[in-house]
Amino acid sequence: MHELSLAHNLIEQILALAAEHQARKVNRVVVTLGPFSGVVRDSFEFGFNILKREQEPVQDALLELLAPDPQYICFDCDKTVSIPLTRQNDRLELASCSLETKKCPWCGSNRLSPNGGTELILNQLEME
């Protein structure tokens, strides 16, 4: 539910940067949503695409979202493991990153602790 306020923050940030760089138009926005950031990708995208209509410089901006694979630390074998999200379940998995269904590829333990992945970053802007 807080995706709309985050999208609003993003647009304000973009508008300030566009003004700073004397750009009239923003073409592309690259944002990283960490797998444990608690942000639902679809809702964030939806919010951004609604809010951008109200601001001329970002009206046609394309939002490109990067979703790094979630990393875990296995409590049994101590390894840091990266478990890619399965494409089919992207939406569900990104929303919950359910711990119970994941197993350590090295030792089979399900005691996997999320490691990092809480980042929400505006990486890059393409402006003119």
Partner: protein, 242 residues
């Protein structure tokens, strides 16, 4: 028409798009305000706690009993976050401590700018009385508030026994961000299939060693540990504030 060279070709552009590497957090503005809030709270000589939980898990009841136990020995102020109504702030005011109600009008979480406004009002309501302990009761929600630093010193997440011990596994971001977890309504444990062991192991999977206190604000069971935690926080405040 291109307004740089004046040529009539609609698609014509003279200026090339430029790519700017930004690499800044989306939460930058909130984070800045949160740091300022923390500084402001420390300047008052107080310590602030952000209480997060689902609706109905007992945040306000916890505060009522905490105020009864501590108000003689320290100055308490409360900022209440709710979508609507002044009900929670009224319950706190009935205990004789200053309370500010922030109604978000639909927003599912408090953010640092809202709390900044609340802190000013709270200081005004305190009328010169010293505030040692500021509780910020977040909007009842186990998802969204986790993302927003309010300028608190400690984040306390409540989990009540009727909610079920699977909640830390279902809402990892919130429990991982906690400095303390309270399992509330312990007097109801015999009536629900809540497993303190399951909740504890799930929380410790997210954050090993995190302190967990099981208590009941109704019977007072386990309350001493919570009060000890608060007294320890008060004792650890920055010395320059006194």
């Amino acid at each position: 028409m291109c307004d740089i060279c004046g040529c009539q070709l609609h698609e014509h552009h003279h200026h090339d798009p430029k790519v700017v590497e930004v690499n800044r957090s989306l939460l930058e503005a909130n984070q800045k305000q949160a740091e300022a809030n923390r500084h402001y709270i420390e300047h008052m000589g107080a310590v602030a706690i952000n209480l997060i939980s689902s609706p109905g898990s007992g945040k306000t009841t916890l505060l009522e009993r905490t105020i009864d136990e501590l108000k003689e020995s320290c100055g308490i102020g409360v900022i209440e976050g709710d979508i609507e109504t002044e009900r929670d702030a009224d319950r706190i005011r009935a205990k004789g401590v200053p309370a500010v109600q922030l109604t978000t009008g639909g927003a599912c979480h408090l953010d640092a700018p809202m709390v900044h406004g609340g802190l000013h009002v709270l200081e005004h309501l305190a009328k010169g009385r010293r505030l040692d302990l500021i509780f910020i009761e977040n909007v009842g929600n186990l998802v969204c508030p986790a993302t927003f630093d309010l300028g608190e010193h400690q984040r306390v997440v409540l989990l009540s026994s009727p909610e079920g011990s699977d909640k830390p596994a279902k809402y990892p971001a919130t429990f991982k961000s906690a400095d303390l977890v309270l399992i509330t309504k312990s007097d109801l444990l015999p009536h629900f299939d809540f497993s303190v062991e399951e909740a504890t192991s799930q929380v410790h999977l997210l954050k090993p060693e995190l302190e967990i206190i099981t208590l009941s604000a109704t019977t007072g069971d386990g309350f001493l540990r919570w009060l000890t935690y608060l007294r320890r926080l008060l004792a650890q405040r920055l010395p320059h504030a006194h």
